[in-house]
Structure formats: C-alpha cells, structure tokens
Assembly symmetry: C2
Homo-oligomer: 288 residues x 2
C-alpha cells in the first residue's frame, strides 16, 4: 500500500521530529494536520504552511478524518494518549510512531488498540542537538536510517505503507527489524555511546582540561550535550537491553585493563588489530 | 633563546611527525638533516627537499654538527639510542622529542645525559590515521597543541627555545606543563578515549551492525583504527596514569548503571545535565 495524496495525515506531537515530518509531507503535497498541546507550535506550523489545521486537544474532527496518524510523543505519554483517545480514530486508520525504543510501546499499543485500526511501529534514526518545531528540518533524514519494526499482528499492507512513508520522507535507508533486534542495536549504537559520552564528561573534574583537548576527545563527547528529559526516558524504557550492552562493554574494558596491568603487550596489540579491522567495516559501507 | 637560522637541526626518526617537522622547518629556511634506519625514507626526504643530508646510522658528522636534535622515535627505542650515541653530540646541543608520554622518558634521558648537552621534552599533540614520512604534512600542526614539559633541571634558555620551535612549526597553542600533569591529561583525553573506542569496536560481534550505525557511533569509534605498535607502547609507558583514569571512568559508568538499574530518573537527569553543562566548556574555548 502506498501513501497516496488522498490520505489525510495527522501528526500528534509537533516537536523536532513531528515538525520535520509535517514540513516534508506538506512540501510534497500531502494534507497534514496536527495535534500538539502547545498552541504556539500549532500557530507556527500553520503560518509556515506545514499543516492545514491543528488543535491543542485530541480534536475528534481531526482524528476522525485521519487515514494515517504519526505519533511523535515521548513513550510515557504515547500509550496513555492512545488509550484515552482511540475511540475518536477513523475505522481503518493506520498509526505509526517515531519512538526511539520499541519493546516498551509496541506490544502495549497493539494490545490496547481497537481491532479496526492498526499500529505499525517505526524509528526514524535522526535527530539534532536542538529541539522543538522551530528547529524542524527534513534534511536531517537525508543521510539517516528509517527502521520499521513489525510484529506478527501487522498486515503486509501496513508494513508496506510504513516503509513507503520512510522513502517519501527522504531517508537514505529504509529497513525492517524485529522489535528485539531493534532495541538491542539501539542500546548498543546509540544509548551505550551516550552513556559513555556522559561519563567521560562527568568523571574528571580537572580544570582547564579543554585547553589540552584534541579532536579525539571532542568527537567522543559531542553527544554528551543532550536533552535529559528525553534521554532518561529512552534509557529507562530500554533498560534491560541497555544494561546488557553496558555489561559487554564493561567486560571488554576490564579485559583491556587486565592486559595493561599485566604488561601484556601482545594481548593489547591483538585487541587493537581487531578493533582496527572491525572499524574498517564501518567505513566501507557508508549509508547510501 | 630563539631558533635562529644559523642552527643546524637534526631529526632522528623520519616518520609522520619527524617528517612533518622536517618539511615545516626546511620550508622556512632552516638547515635540516636526518637520521633514520630506513634508506628509502632518507632518499624520499632528500628528493622532497625536506633535508639536506641524511644517514641510516647514527652518523658522527651529522650529530656532531647538530645544534638542535629532535627525537621522533618510539619511547622504547629513544632512551637506549641516546645512551649509545650521545658521545657524538655537539657540546651545548639542545635535544627535544615528540614522545606522547613523558614520565617514562624525561627522567631517564636527563639522568643518563652528558652534562654539556640539555634535553627539554615536548609533545606535539598532532597525528593522523596514517603513518610514515610519505604522509608527513605540517598542516596537522595548525589546529593542534604543543606542550613543553620541563623539569627543574632545565634552563630557561632551553625552555624558551623549545617553545619557540613549537611556534615556528605553526602550532595553534604552545603551553608548558609538568611531566606529571601532562601524563595525567594525556591519559584522560587521549589514551582513555582510545581504550573506549577499541572496546566499543571489539565488545559486540553482531553482524551488519554497520547498516544501522549513525553519526554518534561513527564519531566515537573513528580513533578505533590505530597503529597497534605505537599505541600499545604509549599505553604501557603511561600505565599508572592510564589505569587511574580508567578507574575514574569505570566508577562513573558503574554509578550511571546503578541509577539505571534502580530506575533513578532524577539521578540520571542530573548526570545528563552535568554532562551537558561541562561539554559546553569544550565548545566555548576553541583552540585559537
């Protein structure tokens, strides 16, 4: 199923990502409406031509006409919102989301949802170090991954529609993963790296360290500047997967430490050669 | 004391850094000679006009004329080389180095050295992911730090000459640190970050991870590609300082882990806010 121009699309939550969806889709000619508790965000989006209509409440008229609803909410708000307002959804509507963790929302949404609507989860792996609809910018999708995470309850039609949405939005790569694989990968490549950057920034209070800092340290801590409300929720929502990945990393660091303590030069060099070889993979296959 | 054009400069070790020194100094009009065990490196450097003369042995004529000798050797080779060949040095010569760790070399060199020559240590904090004289390029100094690490045995004249060399080479910032402070800072900003990058690369063997990798992970692992001979030696040469910094980091990661296990959202957010605030310092004062 393709996302044709007859379909009404409603974005719930007009932040950085929701706003970037609205900007991209309206620019392509889709009819986009939005719900956001912040009247200023709605007014701004209308004035920018990103949406045709908006409301600060779960407006029954808007929701009743939506063929596709994109939820761009924090995970903790997302599930109760759907439970409370799903009676207003149009029969046959397809819902999707942008949540960065999946295990904590997909099953709960699919369990509570009316049988005549369908939820197909997706994770647009894009972001910026700033937030809010005024910073929304669909160009952040251009070099990014878009991952659809279906369950056995999803129909082929909905999966196809959701993948098509990712392509329409301009993502560099659209792929399909199971919920568990997604959450494990995200725990490793995104959440663990944020944990490391945070700890590098907070473990050492030597003054004027910034005067002696080179590119390595700057690169490793760029993401140490983060939205604490969102990231604490992401960490806690994916706690088990993140703890497992932390364990793998901690054990590896302990192994390197032991080699260093024992003066095991060959062991250190072997780890370095393995690291060098594996890192090459990450260069060879750039996102195209 | 300034590095005037009457001074003969000899580079011992024509690799990436030694070669970049030779290229920069000869381009400015200094008379540069070199010693390197690899004849090809010497021939290349002569053909490029980087040096006027070179030798593959510790040539007595070259060393006997050198007013300034720059050692660009691995720490394990550096000390025995000086012990063996110092009889050939010119009386009054100033020696400096480019070694990335200082505690393991400065005292040993100063202890063994003839009383009529002086060793003043320096660390040009620059590098590339490639090595060898053919990759030498003085532009790597432009945004980098150059740190001089004198001891009480050093004269003001030699410290000044060494600082002047850093400015002549084009470093963005020339500063002076004690040997211990230098090694602690290097253990943290450079060696610990390399340990982390290595472990991130080797702790997880999931296939096709590179297909789902975003900029955060790429940034954190750029330095995971490294020269295992050089880096194992740097780690082992600065073992105690590096182990101390690893401990600080491991304890901080354990603290974050505990907050996550306990669902301590406020504690996580507090760490994230501290990280965000401290990271801002590293943006505010770019190297100028």
């Amino acid at each position: 199923m393709k996302l044709d121009f007859q379909k009404n699309i409603t974005i719930v939550g007009l932040g950085l990502i929701g706003g970037s969806y609205a900007r991209a889709l309206s620019a392509l000619g889709y009819t986009v409406t939005a719900i956001d508790r912040n009247a200023d965000s709605i007014d701004y989006a209308i004035s920018e031509g990103m949406i045709t209509r908006g409301a600060t409440e779960a407006d029954a008229a808007i929701l009743g006409e939506a063929d596709v609803i994109v939820f761009a909410l924090y995970p903790s708000i997302f599930v109760p919102w759907v439970e409370e307002h799903q009676a207003k959804f149009k029969s046959g509507a397809i819902m999707t989301d942008v949540t960065g963790v999946k295990g904590c929302v997909v099953e709960r949404i699919q369990n509570c949802l009316r049988p005549d609507v369908e939820f197909i989860a997706a994770h647009p792996m894009a972001g910026r170090e700033v937030s809010g609809v005024r910073n929304s910018d669909p160009s952040i999708f251009r070099s990014a991954n878009y991952v659809v995470t279906p369950t056995p309850r999803n129909t082929e039609d909905a999966i196809e529609l959701c993948c098509h949405l990712g392509r329409v939005l301009g993502f560099a790569r659209v792929s399909v993963l199971s919920v568990d694989d997604h959450d494990e990968i995200i725990a490793f490549v995104s959440q663990l790296t944020h944990c490391i950057a945070i700890c590098l920034m907070t473990c050492q209070q030597t003054e004027h360290l910034e005067d002696y800092t080179g590119d390595s340290f700057r690169d490793l801590t760029r993401i140490a500047r983060l939205n604490d409300e969102m990231w604490s929720e992401l960490f806690l929502s994916n706690k088990d997967a993140l703890l497992s990945q932390m364990t793998l990393f901690e054990e590896e660091l302990a192994s390197l430490r032991k080699k260093l303590e024992q003066g095991d030069r060959d062991g250190l060099r072997e780890m370095m050669r393995a690291s060098t070889a594996r890192r090459a993979l990450f260069d060879k296959k750039p996102i195209t």
